[in-house]
Amino acid sequence: MTVTQVVFYVLAAFTVGAAFIVVLATNIVHSAIALVFTFFGVAALYILLDAEFLAAVQVLLYVGGITILLLFAIMLTSRISARGVRILNEQAGISALVVFAIFALMAYANLRVVVPAGPPPPASYATASLGRLLLTTYVLPFEAVSILLLAAMVGAIILARREREKD
């Protein structure tokens, strides 16, 4: 067992454990904090996969952006001190059954898959070629996604704005 494998299994256990806390924590703030750890675990797995740029984006965008957004929404909506409230709906049992069946199917299919002979050597200057690809081959989706972001930003502002006349 090499060092890479040990690191992978430790990171995998860490990420899955944090994900379980996200889903099962009774306090929604604890869920958000556990989500941060899940995102960090996934970012570390990206580094293990030689995707340094994506790891940086993951930390900046998910840990720095989305989690803060979620925490703000939690503070604006829920009564945090609410105790003894059910966090799962009454379909938890059947959901667990179905989800476990789906996971077992995916794991079975993965174990039967034909594994490629060996991973290619990691591309040098991967970030530079990523940027080149984004501005040449994938420039159209790049522009489309920027328009999507603009639309989402405007939409979020309009949706979250308080209506003056009503209040």
Binding site: V23, I66, M106, N110, L148
Partner: protein, 102 residues
């Protein structure tokens, strides 16, 4: 080197956990968090394929970048919708918001 299938199984586990959360959480913000977990699982798949399959040109990472962007847009709009829900219903529990249900 870790075999590819282990990454895929880890990603499947993350996806299943996220799916369970999205199906069963009562808090709408909890559902959004579970959705983010599922996005992360799919991104992990993309990056693992981009690393392991022969003759890739980083397409997996490009796709993961687009998925992250769409996830950011989804989180912003989703949280704005949840704030609107809270203003109208004084709750974010999705099983109490049943105005359009029989």
């Amino acid at each position: 080197m870790v075999p590819l299938s282990h990454y895929l199984i880890l990603s499947a586990a993350l996806f299943a956990i996220g799916m369970f959360g999205a199906l069963t959480r009562r808090n709408a913000i909890g559902i959004l968090m579970a959705l983010e977990l599922m996005f992360n699982a799919v991104n992990l798949d993309f990056v693992a394929f981009s690393r392991y399959l022969p003759q890739t040109m980083l397409q997996g990472q490009i796709f993961a970048i687009f998925v992250i962007t769409v996830a950011a847009a989804e989180a912003a709009v989703g949280l704005a919708i949840i704030l609107g829900l809270y203003r109208n219903f004084k709750t974010v529990n999705v099983d109490e918001i049943n105005l359009m249900k029989w």
